[in-house]
Chain length 311, copies 2
Amino acid sequence: MILTVTMNPSIDTRYEVEHLVVDNVNRVTPQKTAGGKGLNVSRVLVQLGDDVVATGLLGGHAGAYLGELMDADGIPHRFTPIAGESRTCIALLHDGNQTELLESGPTVSTEELEAFLANYAELVQQADCVTISGSLPKGVPAECYAGMVETAVRAGKPVLLDTSGAALDAALAADVKPTLVKPNLTEINALLGTAFTTDEAAALGDAVAADPRFQGVAWVVVTMGAAGSVAFHDGHRYRVTTPPIQAVNATGSGDSTVAGFAHAIAAGMDDVAVLACGNTCGKLNAMDPQTGHLVMDKWGEVYASVEVTEV
Amino acid sequence: MILTVTMNPSIDTRYEVEHLVVDNVNRVTPQKTAGGKGLNVSRVLVQLGDDVVATGLLGGHAGAYLGELMDADGIPHRFTPIAGESRTCIALLHDGNQTELLESGPTVSTEELEAFLANYAELVQQADCVTISGSLPKGVPAECYAGMVETAVRAGKPVLLDTSGAALDAALAADVKPTLVKPNLTEINALLGTAFTTDEAAALGDAVAADPRFQGVAWVVVTMGAAGSVAFHDGHRYRVTTPPIQAVNATGSGDSTVAGFAHAIAAGMDDVAVLACGNTCGKLNAMDPQTGHLVMDKWGEVYASVEVTEV
């Protein structure tokens, strides 16, 4: 079983209007899905045929509705209930634009967080692999993910961490490191204080290898959009190039990449297969209008076109 | 007890941002209230000290949340549950504008509507006055309000109808008429096929008196914003002028006016008091930033400045 963590899930609501009328009334028909990066990961894992359990924090009536949306997507879930209402995030598609309204979400109490961490520790025991994605809700300290990573690693389970900011800083500063981190080029440059371009994979590799924060992180994958990715695993360095595709909705492609990595790592695949699987999932998500959903009938074609070279 | 009907309530969500960033992410903190025109009426009646029961249709998890929001506002409620999720309506305050995103809401089944109508008929027996406000949800025929008006009138209860379009047309075409309708000047001109201005109250009165659709409607009140209103009651004609005020949020002023009429009619007040009370509530709502909420400490001042003249 692969355990996915979503600490601040949301009712993702999509409104589509041809033209947004400012300062007046716009009548809309909503499409609502169980959102948050970890739930995108879960949705892709279900498509890949994995046993999944989604966990995190679900609040109030909105949380109960999110549970129903997960049921509809066939995602088994074991969230911890909280008193605050789970949030709603709106994607407003209008005039060729995607304008997003992201609610801040509920504040989590210390008791609620403790209840979640106990639930998480239990679920980790049953997991083959753990993914932790997205931001922390209000009331949860930045060190939370570092502790959750340690719980997984001490239980002997690979743990993939996809977050940013203070939560990532705290996880990289801790003694026990995540198995995989997946910064994009902008994020890794910010972390390293560098300005590497997609053509400087070798120099980037040297910088990552020299930085003590990445020591003990088995997998560092730096994603570079259409330029593919560079990856570092236990002293090996890889350059991954991906085929040009007809992208229709790239939202959730990073989450889909994480799902592909988790799928392959949980199955004990070799480095090349791990990288090919992750990058294939990212591409197949971008080809589908739904967020966190792969165009599965293109799997063979895209997978065969992903090139992984040790450099 | 005053019974208020809201057939398509919504979680009214207010997002305030200084500047809306189009085609990018906007982080927002929501303010959520129990919305829908009938719930604005209920909120004002609670402020006026009336016994109120709010009814209508509540769907799913969103409906349960709406029930909690009503509890928080001290509004007693006896809604009929439906399977579909109650809707959300968003008011986005940005760049000095109010851009609204109004969801269409759930579709109501025949069985659900029948269950509601049975509940409504029971509640009408206990009511001193009934208000019916707003649009009908999908799946409910336009004639629904006409039937609900008949139920109230046959039970000997005054019934105030504040709707528009096909639902109003059907109610005015029926044999049994509502006790009060409250079109604004634009709506009454559309109904009559006329183009009266605020200065032509006498001619408007003649046209209303001559139109068979208004025969049997005890009260016809035509609201004209800052210009006050003209009203027709059992052969009497009134011109109501209201004091200039510092309006901060006129949303819900029509609903507040209905609440004032219901309060006065239920209490058996005379024509002048009914008109003064309704118009005062409309003004006091516009002076308060919250929708469906009166600045009660200005009651005496505003009430004294409303002038009702028989013409």
